[in-house]
């Protein structure tokens, strides 16, 4: 059974130390407060969890397996590598844990329409899926550049009945999709619920997204104890905004022996200026409703980012990860585009599992860490999603397809 206690909660205003908070336009303050109240009320309600956990089990397919990747371990040499198989969830990524939770909340609040931003399209697909199941109208905001590189997911969303709205403003990627979704929500908040896709944004989103994803770490922790008889030494997850990372890492926070590692996208390299490593290279700033680490210039203008993976291509990061880093409870790693591509191929060939490019960043860093550890140690890696959506990008990078551009 899952532990439903809310530990390491932010303060009443949603602050994790100096990070987080609710830096929102006035029009959104009341709708955000209503979501916060609905969330806390639902979280106390047994019926809410009964329905949620039933859906997670019988619709999403949880618990997802914890897989001891023996071939990959042998190939790497070093610590035992265990993979948390979020790629096996319905829709193919961890994102659905959150959209089930927020979808139930939206229905509970009587909202008829949901909106979401999406980068890789996984959150968009997961939102469209829940909207289809609950019979809600669904509009998804997606940067035009991301639509091009994640076309299969765009088509899946359309098939699911969602309206995918291209975003051309700014850099035409995830941050601009968030801007556009916020602009729409300001005008529609009376009948519309904004299903936010990551553990960032204004309070209560970082908290509620975390809570809806902690099933990942809670299962992994119990499965690791059962299969290996002990806790992992290191838990590793990639970070776009931080939802799969908080989901995996949060339940290990009080296990002092477990190192918690967040892997950012190093793009063309951390010193290239073309990456998405907000924790490693950013500074504290305010964007999308929260105070967190941002990639920005000296005058607070937010920078365009680069990553081969659309889901990591975001200049901010969840405020709780910023806080954990500052507290010394989080270690940072970064994987480049090339390292992620390489890790994707290594896992595919050694284990027959094709991971998402996002998750491949965690794999690259996780195997690097495992290499320097001993065989009686354990590295737990969150395989946050499967790679189907990325095949076009991967084939092009390998030179197997002609690049039309």
């Amino acid at each position: 059974m899952y532990n439903l206690d809310i530990t390491h909660a932010p303060d009443a205003g949603g602050h994790f130390g100096k990070f987080g908070g609710r830096f929102a336009a006035e029009t959104l303050m009341q709708p955000l407060k209503e979501i916060e109240e609905a969330f806390f009320e639902a979280w106390q309600d047994e019926a809410f969890h009964t329905e949620r956990l039933d859906l997670l089990k019988n619709y999403v397919g949880r618990a997802t397996p914890l897989y001891h990747a023996k071939q990959l371990t042998a190939l790497t040499g070093g610590a035992q590598i265990y993979l948390k198989r979020e790629d096996l969830t319905h829709t193919g990524a961890h994102k659905i844990n959150n959209t089930i939770g927020q979808g139930l909340l939206a229905r509970r609040m009587g909202k008829k329409r949901v909106i979401a931003e999406t980068g890789a399209g996984q959150h968009g697909v997961a939102t469209a899926t829940v909207a289809a199941m609950f019979g809600m109208q669904c509009d998804i905001y997606m940067g035009r550049e991301d639509m091009a590189r994640q076309m299969p997911n765009v088509l899946r969303m359309r098939l699911l009945g969602a309206n995918v709205i291209p975003v051309d403003s700014g850099t035409a990627t995830l941050k601009d999709a968030v801007n556009e979704a916020l602009r729409n929500w300001v005008a529609t908040c009376e009948d519309t619920f904004y299903i936010f896709g990551t553990a960032a944004g204004p309070h209560p989103y970082p908290l509620l997204v975390r809570q809806f994803h902690t099933v990942i770490g809670q299962e992994a922790r119990a499965q690791c104890l059962e299969q290996a008889g002990r806790l992992p030494d290191v838990a590793v997850a990639c970070v776009g905004g931080g939802s799969n990372a908080m989901g995996l890492l949060h339940p290990f926070r009080d296990d002092e022996s477990v190192r918690l590692v967040a892997v950012e996208a190093a793009g063309y390299g951390l010193d290239s200026g073309q990456h998405a490593a907000s924790l490693a290279k950013g500074k504290a700033g305010i964007l999308h409703g929260n105070l967190t680490y941002l990639l920005e210039n000296d005058e607070g203008q937010v920078k365009g980012t680069h990553s081969i993976s659309a889901g990591l291509d975001y200049p901010g990061v969840g405020p709780e990860l910023a806080y954990m880093l500052e507290q010394g409870r989080l270690e940072l790693e970064a994987s480049s585009d090339d390292e992620a591509l390489e890790a994707l191929q290594v896992l595919t060939r050694s284990e027959g599992i094709i991971p998402a490019l996002e998750s491949s960043h965690a794999l690259a860093a996780g195997t690097r860490l495992a290499e320097s550890m001993s065989a009686d140690q354990i590295v737990l890696i969150n395989l946050s999603g499967r790679g189907d959506k990325d095949m076009n990008t991967v084939f092009k990078s390998l030179g197997w397809l002609e690049d039309e551009s």
């Binding site: 700014g170 601009d176 305010i286 999308h288």
Partner: protein, 272 residues
């Protein structure tokens, strides 16, 4: 030389309008749009017709703005507008208009990156009276209130149709200068909401808000709308409608006359 003015001019602006039996006209332009030198001319021209000038600080991610002001921010940044230019333009306007109310408007990350102490000091030195930061509600005022106060800058607070009585009280306690009522649930440049409900909400806010002047904006596009809003508010804010002249004009030289004519007709509307 006279002693530097350390208090805000905003109360005097509203007092003057009241004595003259009219409603204040508040005009908005983004600093540096379409470039710094044209922007200087446009701000100076708009200052001729307005009681309060809102000078927008361009930002990469203007989340509460519609297409017109988003594009203005993008043009200003592309033209290389820096925060130093925003202060410089503010000072140019101040030097030409000693009694004008000037409010710097924008998003939190720009002043946060500079540090609110330094930002407030420079804003004050440039001649600003107040600051309006869209994404710092009263609850998050801990990051800026002390600095603004130290430099005698008013904090203009936004209220909207979704603001509850509790929030109206909270914002009023935090605000000085005036309250900016956003007349609709939406972004800048959208269509105005129903006039009667705006009127009712303004009255309601005035009853709660410690006698602060209430200005109404978002969506005022015609002199008729401005005249109607002027009947029940202390100030009418016109933004996107003025900014739109920058792209509507055939050449840069055509912007200023069009803007001046447009501002003059708005001015006439709020005086009637």
């Amino acid at each position: 030389m006279s002693a530097p003015i350390t208090t805000s001019r905003l109360p005097a602006v509203f007092e003057r309008c009241k004595q003259q039996g009219r409603t204040a006209l508040v005009g908005y332009l983004t600093a540096g749009d379409p470039d710094v030198s044209t922007s200087r001319e446009l701000l100076l021209a708009l200052a001729e017709q307005t009681d309060i000038l809102e000078i927008g600080m361009p930002f990469s991610d203007p989340m509460a703005d519609g297409p017109v002001i988003q594009a203005a921010s993008e043009r200003a940044l592309e033209a290389g507008t820096h925060i130093a230019d925003v202060f410089e333009l503010t000072k140019n306007v101040r030097d030409a208009h000693p009694d004008l109310g000037i409010v710097l408007m924008g998003y939190a990350n720009v002043p946060y990156a500079m540090g609110f102490d330094l930002f407030s000091q420079r804003a004050k030195a440039a001649g600003a009276d107040g600051v309006l930061i869209v994404d710092i509600p009263a609850e998050e005022g801990h990051i800026c209130d002390a600095s603004l106060k130290q430099y005698g800058l008013d904090r203009i607070m936004l209220l909207s149709p979704t603001s509850t009585d509790e929030r109206i009280q909270l914002a009023s306690d935090c605000a000085s200068g005036f309250i900016y009522y956003v007349s609709l649930n939406g972004i800048t440049g959208a269509d105005m909401g129903d006039m009667q409900s705006i009127h009712d909400k303004v009255n309601h806010i005035k009853a709660i808000s410690n006698d602060l002047p209430v200005c109404v904006g978002f969506g005022v596009k015609t002199p008729e709308q401005a005249a109607q809003v002027a009947q029940f508010s202390d100030g009418v804010v016109v933004g996107s409608h003025f900014v739109a002249h920058i792209t509507q004009a055939a050449t840069k030289a055509d912007i200023k006359p069009a803007l001046s004519a447009s501002a003059a007709s708005m001015r006439k509307a709020v005086e009637s």
